[in-house]
């Protein structure tokens, strides 16, 4: 079943992006700058974790070896995780968190829209739900980038710092792995280069209102898709996986 193994790989890669970003967002819960954000950030985190669960479960079913969503999330090492580096970056301040969310959501929205019309029915049904969720993420994160970029001098400076820190990680969103190539050929997922324009339109729209400039990136950062991560992923996983590692094989 060579074809399945490629789709499994794609599903797990996407699942990793969603789980890791959801986990990062969930770290804000109870510590947000205002109560409204203590509700909004968990909301987005729940959407992302829900999508990760769908993706892992689908991968587990295709694999047919009795693994579950939790095996993918809790029993793979740092080197086996395939998320892009951007989603694992530490939260930083609220400007970093919202900008990272905007970068990711602005990519996933056109991505899911095309998957929803794609050739794999089960994935298309997840995508249809994800489109609604991610549209809210684009709006919410985009509004914050505008508020902070066009707020006080201090917030504008922080927003510019966030752009400098995170923009080098955006290239990796558009990389295509071998298994992705197959899924693209089968019409299951879009070719990222075909959604780059959509992504750019969203980012430019927000940046114009936020008085931010898209920087020239001298050294794009990537490696997550091959399992080469920054140091922070290991720490994230040691927290995420603590219970399953400390008490192997139990049900909770």
């Amino acid at each position: 079943m060579a074809s399945n193994s490629e789709l499994i790989d794609v599903l797990v890669t996407l699942g990793d992006d969603h789980l890791i970003l959801g986990h990062r967002l969930s770290q804000w819960c109870g510590h947000a700058p205002m109560l409204e954000e203590d509700l909004s950030m968990p909301n987005m985190a729940l959407d992302l974790i829900g999508q990760a669960r769908n993706l892992y479960s689908y991968a587990a079913d295709l694999e047919g070896r009795g693994r579950t969503e939790d095996d993918f999330a809790y029993l793979r090492s740092d080197r086996e995780y395939r998320n892009c580096l951007m989603v694992e970056r530490p939260n930083g301040d609220f400007a970093h968190t919202m900008l990272r969310q905007l970068y990711f959501a602005a990519f996933m929205k056109p991505f899911w829209e095309r998957v929803a019309a794609g050739s794999d029915d089960r994935l298309a049904s997840y995508a249809a739900k994800a489109v609604k969720e991610v549209s809210y993420h684009v709006r919410h994160a985009g509004e914050w980038v505008v508020r902070l970029g066009d707020g006080t001098e201090h917030s504008a400076a922080r927003m510019r710092e966030a752009v400098d820190a995170l923009h080098p990680y955006t290239d990796e969103l558009f990389t295509v792995t071998q298994p992705m190539r197959k899924a693209i050929e089968k019409g299951i997922i879009p070719d990222p280069k075909d959604i780059k324009d959509d992504w750019m339109v969203t980012i430019n729209l927000v940046f114009n209102q936020a008085f931010l400039a898209v920087p020239e990136v001298a050294f794009p950062q990537q490696g997550g898709r091959e399992g080469l991560h920054t140091e922070s992923l290991g720490h994230l996983l040691s927290e995420l996986q603590y219970m399953q590692r400390a008490y192997p094989g139990l049900s909770w």
């Binding site: 789980l19 986990h23 969930s26 770290q27 819960c29 109870g30 510590h31 947000a32 700058p33 205002m34 109560l35 409204e36 203590d38 509700l39 968990p42 909301n43 985190a45 729940l46 974790i49 829900g50 990760a52 669960r53 892992y56 969503e69 939790d70 999330a73 809790y74 301040d93 609220f94 505008v146 508020r147 902070l148 066009d150 707020g151 006080t152 201090h154 917030s155 922080r158 927290e239 995420l240 603590y242 219970m243 399953q244 008490y247 139990l250 049900s251 909770w252």
Partner: protein
């Protein structure tokens, strides 16, 4: 502090015996008091204190459970816990809004929490060292909260009673979810069962303290009962809670850590051992294991978020100015 924001304050309504009697008559007829209705200053003050404390408890209560969001043992539990903690934040939001109808701002209330003037439920000054604590909080703490809050759905103050109706639905879901976590542990490995029993041992007595001092020592009780802000006394609610919980513990084979606990045929209630009121007052006064950490965490979030809140205000102002300028240019 509060008095600065009180809407009734400026009008300085005179509380004649006739006014007080008419107000009491409305309460006795089970009419709801609404924000713009005349009300005695003491009624307003009592509600502001109580709703404010309640709101703060929801917010501070996010911290002990939030402590396990990043370490929940599987994805289903992770999502459920995140949603639960988010619900508590939502409860805080409705409650602050209910308190604001009495003329106090959320910001004022937050400042009073952070400087230690306003209280919150002492139960949240205990730590959550193990996953079992998440189950125990849902089962016992949300369980006790329900006992307290169900009667508040009939509270004489309209906005508070309506907020409570929304909140109670979610609290009973939390209670069932917490109990289900504990049951899973109790039916699991020896290690898991021990984890559950250990957590029950730690949370049992603090949960009983959640209902507040004994009726004989409770200062605010009588007047609140007359005003139908409260419907049952602290001891009545505590007894209800014990009666309901003992059965639930037995069902999953856990032992309530009280050697004096036994069914009393005559009273048709469980008798239970003496509560350590010294511990209760120590924690109320700031000497619990987590008091400092809880306030420090809230203060950190508030202080570090200041630039975000300022930016949002500055941006809103700029927008208004630009709109006004555009309008002027068009005319």
């Amino acid at each position: 502090m509060y008095s600065q924001g009180l809407t009734g304050e400026q009008s300085e309504l005179e509380e004649t015996p006739e006014f007080l009697a008419a107000f009491q008559a409305r309460i006795d007829r089970e009419e709801k008091i609404e924000p713009n209705d005349p009300m005695p200053a003491a009624y307003r003050k009592t509600l502001i204190r109580q709703i404010g404390q309640h709101a703060h408890s929801e917010i501070v209560g996010m911290l002990p459970e939030g402590n396990w969001i990043t370490r929940a043992p599987n994805l289903r539990r992770k999502a459920a816990l995140l949603a639960k903690v988010q619900d508590e934040g939502g409860h805080g939001l409705y409650l602050y809004a209910a308190a604001e109808t009495l003329g106090v701002s959320r910001e004022q209330m937050t400042e009073e929490l952070l400087c230690g003037k306003a209280k919150y439920s002492s139960i949240f000054n205990y730590p959550t060292p193990t996953w079992a604590d998440i189950g125990l909080i849902g089962w016992l703490v949300d369980g006790a909260a329900i006992m307290n809050q169900v009667p508040l759905c009939r509270c004489s103050y309209g906005p508070y009673s309506r907020a409570m109706i929304r909140v109670c639905k979610e609290e009973s879901f939390h209670q069932r979810q917490g109990y289900e976590i504990v049951r899973t542990l109790a039916e699991g490995s020896a290690e898991q069962k021990e984890m559950a029993q250990d957590a029950l041992n730690r949370w049992w007595w603090p949960s009983l303290m959640m209902f507040g001092p004994s009726d004989s020592d409770s200062v605010n009780s009588d007047q609140s009962m007359k005003w139908k802000i409260k419907r049952f006394t602290n001891d009545e609610l505590r007894q209800k809670f014990v009666d309901a919980t003992v059965v639930q513990a037995e069902k999953i084979g856990l032992t309530i850590p009280d050697p004096d606990l036994k069914w009393n045929e005559e009273r048709e209630h469980y008798d239970f051992g003496a509560i350590d009121w010294e511990e209760f007052w120590r924690v109320v006064k700031g000497g619990g294991p987590m008091n400092r950490d809880r306030i420090a965490a809230r203060k950190k979030a508030w202080d570090e978020g200041a630039w975000v809140r300022e930016a949002a205000l500055a941006h809103a102002r700029k927008r208004l100015e630009r709109e006004a300028a555009a309008k002027e240019a068009a005319e």
